[in-house]
Symmetry: C3
Subunit: 343 residues, 3 copies
């Protein structure tokens, strides 16, 4: 690893516009959790769940809200959004060496590919015909960039990323290992007694500053493209089907899935393992909680859920068995309300 980085607390305060409490000369050489931080590390308190750890922290300093500062036994940086402030400061301590530009000798590059001289192509990559890799882009080992794919400037494919066909990545896109972009959409038509495949003729367009998680899949469109606008953030193992549209700044948690031609708005938050059916629309600023299933279009911002609460299995079984007859119970309730009939 590279040499250790040091920052004085007063320097950090002025650099990020934060109020400082305590010794200006406190030296910060790294970041850690409240529970684990030592005297040369910066910690943070954002989630109240961890407030009890403040009293006993051995951190050199803590980033926290003004309201928590009184309980902090060590120097502090005051922030309206401590998590955001911490994220920025932590970036100072992230030291990923930028790889040398150039194409590794083991990579297989088609003659028709256009690769910027400032790009870095790692070991055993395969770059197809008419593929374009932009300035400062970085491909780790084992990436495949298929025909007619474009990797925008400063984008990074960490390792073993596959861009199958007609995939365009914007600038500063980060794609994690195992992701597959531009595979065939799942298009089938039934012909008397067997399936025939519907050709998948579109592509995938990913905006600037998007992040695509490990083993996430984004299929190319059947007709027209599958689209992620700028700053869309996808966690691991997400499935985006053909012709889906995801608006800017939307974030989706792990294992969520969107079926074909669904249109998701901007600034949405989709919980883990949630599902969104095809051909429907989700408005801007919609939150879907984990493992919920969206079966109809959502026209209004807000938070939406489906599913049932977790219970002890024996209780759960009893209620689940009853639920199978809920309609009958409601009819019986209604009959009772009407009172005894005069037969």
């Amino acid at each position: 690893m590279s040499a250790t980085v040091f920052h004085r607390l007063d320097e950090l305060a002025s650099r990020y516009g934060l109020e400082r409490r305590g010794d200006a000369a406190t030296v910060i050489a790294g970041v850690a959790t409240l529970a684990d931080a030592g005297p040369r590390q910066l910690a943070f308190l954002a989630n109240p769940r961890y407030a009890a750890q403040l009293a006993t922290t051995r951190a050199g300093a803590v980033v926290l809200r003004a309201g928590d500062a009184g309980f902090c036994p060590v120097p502090a940086l005051i922030a309206v959004d401590p998590y955001l402030a911490f994220a920025r400061i932590a970036a100072l301590f992230e030291q990923r060496p930028h790889p040398q530009p150039g194409i590794h000798s083991s990579a297989v590059v088609a003659p028709g590919a256009r690769i910027s001289a400032s790009a870095s192509i790692g070991p055993l990559c395969v770059i197809g015909d008419d593929a374009v890799v932009g300035d400062g882009a970085e491909l780790g080992p084992h990436c495949v960039v298929g025909p007619d794919c474009t990797v925008g400037a400063q984008s990074r494919l960490v390792a073993r990323v596959t861009l199958v066909e007609r995939v365009t990545l914007g600038r500063r896109v980060l794609v994690h290992p195992g992701a597959v972009l531009g595979a065939d959409g799942f298009g089938l038509a039934f012909d008397k007694d067997h399936w025939i495949k519907v050709p998948q003729l579109g592509g995938v367009r990913i905006g600037d500053d998007c992040e695509i998680g490990a083993n996430t899949t984004i299929d190319r469109g059947a007709l027209g493209d599958t689209v992620l606008e700028d700053d869309v953030r996808l966690d691991n193992q997400i499935q985006i089907a053909h012709n889906v549209f995801v608006g800017a700044h939307t974030a989706m948690a792990g294992c969520s899935a969107v079926a074909g031609s669904a249109r998701i708005g901007r600034h949405c938050l989709i919980g883990g393992s949630a599902g969104i059916l095809g051909h429907l629309e989700v408005a801007d600023r919609v939150t879907i909680t984990a493992m919920s299933l969206v079966t109809h279009s959502i026209r209004e911002p807000g938070e939406y859920s489906s599913g049932t609460a977790l219970q002890d299995n024996r209780q759960w079984r009893r209620n689940a068995a009853r639920l199978k007859h809920l309609d009958d119970y409601v009819r019986r309730l209604t009959a009772l309300e009407k009172g005894p009939r005069d037969d």
Copy 2:
């Protein structure tokens, strides 16, 4: 890309046995959606959701049902199943160059592998001992074909597909990137204080004309094989556990999962993120809706569901809290029905 293909509308009509309305000489050079198609493109109308787009389409022609033809402002092809007819016509415009037969110089091929002279093995593939690759089969970059695996004639592994061990693919099987076939099934036995692994000695057998989606996993059997019959269609990120059997023509949508030794019939439709527990049977022609969990065998064809409807989170919370006590409510309802006791 290759040269553009042109077809006259009357030629398409006669080739696919469709009735034509409007100018026989209309030239079609591609396909697109109703909303996006230009005057040299063919569109289609199958889903009533998009019927409103018909009036303003700029398509050269539209494939649609007879009942919609009266509302079509441009030439039309009449089909009983417009989606199917469109799928066939669209295939004319899909121009994937067939790769040259032969083995790329960067591939690593074991001496005992048998590879047809008409097969194409892409860059950086690894072919193991006793592996067989049939006539006209095509392996894209980064595929691994392990020992005792067979790739049937005309099958295609798009890129970065892994056949681990004892996997047999039929003819014309299409496997998308990231798929893993033939990994160990998840077999464990608990031995006092730790797990021991149950050897996974079986294989995987995939019939003709199957399609396996990106990052889908199909484990090999513990004893005996995991089997997909002909024409089974799997979307992305599906998990098929050891010794599962899937009948012919069944299609499964993304992120669905089938546990060990389950037996699924023919012509089933399994929705996205649905789950099927192990050691049970699902009859032919069963549809499971998205995110439903099959916990017992299904003996009759039909459509089956579990889960709850999506609601605004505040309403949902109220109902979910009540559901935890449904059994009590039903008892109270029953007590009310019995009337006041004569104590």
Copy 3:
């Protein structure tokens, strides 16, 4: 494959401490299911679901419980836990050739990597700087071991496994194809109008004897590490987010997912497609049934569930529609119980 292995039934009985019934000289040359086994194969009966197959089995011998032995038409081995006994015996018939130690000529190994002379590095692997591969470890084709990663002694990466950065595997860890360990956790902070990435500075620590399924993802910690203790068993397509802790001997079935900083106890069983939300704790010896969602900490051992029972779609629709108003029904029920008001 290698030469066939033979064992006499009396030899198996004494080797594994099992009672034998029937001919001591019965020759066993393999294992199979009750339904498929032939006269030189050993079968087992553990799940009562398959008891009916006992009467007609053609197996050479069957491992079963004492209570089932009376119904067994062929020689038998009696075990308290027939599945466990069978697992041990079956291992005798698993003949995976151990690969030659050494580094395949096509692998790309950084000068700073330290690889044991007894380790085997397969074709097209990429080993980064400061990576360590221990004694007897085995990397199949297409594995990537990134900077500062350690593969413990006797561990095996089957094929196409990616260890991204700061990942430490214990001894005898088995990782299946497509697994990605040590990718960035999904950490985002919202800055006025866009996301900024929270640096992911921690690592992943995997204990001894763990198994990681195909296409499973385990992200590295944001601060501190993501941890699996010894003997944790993960099936395929599981998502483990940053800073999750999984206690020893816990097993998770396919497609389950754990969100960030959740802490799961020891000896837990997590069902397929289950979800566990972030920042919560699950006690030791907790079972979560398939597709359940854990939304709060679980303090007591036991079995927990959420979700609803599968029904015919028409019935299900009726009940699901009613459930949206359950709170109202309960209010109406309560009003009825209070009786008519004296207005």
